[in-house]
């Protein structure tokens, strides 16, 4: 449901790139998705499978680059992996932090054009 909108948005940007570079076909689409972006990879791939046929991106290889979540602790200044949820307890001092430095990405990273 939500992933369909994301795939549509991605396809729009991909086709913009195709036009901007005067290419004919899209051979590859790479998305950068953080673990905290709330995106289900399987649903997203399914969405692409329904949207790409009949477009210049038909047959394109879809690659998803996962970005692990990392948070910063204001109390002791360290950066640490924040694997799940939003309650990030600093492994060093135990203080809670909501300062996410990476892991919320939802970007079109690159395209391969022909």
């Amino acid at each position: 449901m939500h992933e369909l909108g994301i795939a549509q948005s991605a396809l729009g940007l991909v086709l913009d790139q195709l036009r901007a570079h005067a290419a004919t076909r899209v051979a590859g689409i790479t998305l950068r998705i953080g673990s905290l972006a709330g995106v289900d990879e399987e649903s997203l791939r399914f969405a692409f499978s329904t949207l790409l046929p009949g477009t210049a991106a038909e047959g394109a290889q879809v690659t998803i680059e996962a970005v692990e979540a990392r948070a910063h602790c204001a109390a002791c200044g360290i950066e640490f992996p924040a694997s799940d949820g939003f309650l990030f307890a600093c492994p060093q001092c135990g203080e809670f932090s909501g300062d996410v430095r990476q892991g919320r990405e939802l970007d079109l990273a690159r395209v391969e054009l022909v």
């Binding site: 948005s9 004919t24 950068r32 047959g59 391969e112």
Partner: protein, 261 residues
């Protein structure tokens, strides 16, 4: 209010509006399609790799920023009400309008998948109300709100209330261009709602703990709820109130008045 490039389909030919008794068919025929070589047939061809690095949800943010500027230019403070279904958004809004509409020009946009039931409950002689039926979209987005605002005819409007679709998940990430985002948390919910739906609670400026008149009957632990809110949403100002009895309601109204001061 904005120009946008539709990537979707366009109807073939002009479509005249249907008069009562008429039937009109809107055929979303495919736009002219060029033919391509078979898919995946890239063998031996040199690819051009292009670094893009653009956010996928950028379109909504762009439109939200436009909305924000538009509201500011018109002296309108937009309030986005979010919550799960049944937390009391419409009842709260109805009582709020009863109290404020005589002193402050208000407008309302309400989003639901289907029905105009909420819009009907919010009717007020001094307030223009527009119901947005999304069909399948589980949240309002900036595009819908931009168009919705155009459907409200009220030149002196100061407060725009946006009642979002009842949903604790998706509305969190869709900026509508609002000045204030208000989350409703009902005393008939579990005290752990904030722990279960962090993105939404982290995105609000204000939390209204509603239905305080039912807290005792529901065995709701208000202290625990406040503790969970402090943990997940330390940034939010919390008001406890009952739209039914009016307990705590004046503080909420004063907060709204304060937005326009």
């Amino acid at each position: 209010m904005h120009m946008h490039h539709h990537h979707g389909k366009t109807p073939t030919g002009p479509v005249a509006p249907a008069k009562p008794g008429d039937l009109v068919v809107i055929d979303l025929g495919d736009d002219e399609r060029p033919t391509y070589p078979p898919p995946g047939d890239f063998g031996g061809v040199q690819f051009q790799q292009v670094e893009v690095n653009l956010p996928l949800l950028g379109e909504n943010q762009r439109l939200a920023t436009e909305n924000r500027a538009h509201f500011q230019a018109h002296g309108v403070k937009a309030v986005n009400l979010v919550s799960g279904p049944g937390a009391g958004k419409t009842t709260l809004l109805a009582r709020t309008l009863q109290a404020l509409a005589e002193e402050i020009p208000c407008g309302v946009l309400v989003g639901d998948l289907e029905t105009d039931a909420d819009a009907r409950r919010l009717r007020h002689p001094k307030v223009p109300v527009a119901q947005i039926t999304t069909g399948s979209a589980c949240h309002l987005d900036a595009h819908m709100v931009g168009h919705g605002f155009e459907a409200l005819d009220s030149p002196g409007m100061r407060l725009l209330f946006i009642e979002n679709v009842g949903n604790l998940v998706c509305p969190a990430e869709f900026d509508l261009g609002e000045s204030v985002r208000v989350g409703l948390f009902s005393c008939t919910d579990g005290e752990d709602k904030p722990l279960k739906y962090p993105p939404l609670y982290k995105s609000v400026h204000v939390v209204l703990l509603t239905k305080t008149d039912l807290a005792e009957a529901a065995g709701f632990d208000r202290a625990l709820a406040r503790e969970n809110l402090a943990k997940i949403a330390p940034q939010a100002r919390v008001f406890e109130l009952s739209s039914k009895t009016g307990e705590g309601f004046e503080a909420w109204l004063d907060f709204l008045r304060g937005l326009l001061a």
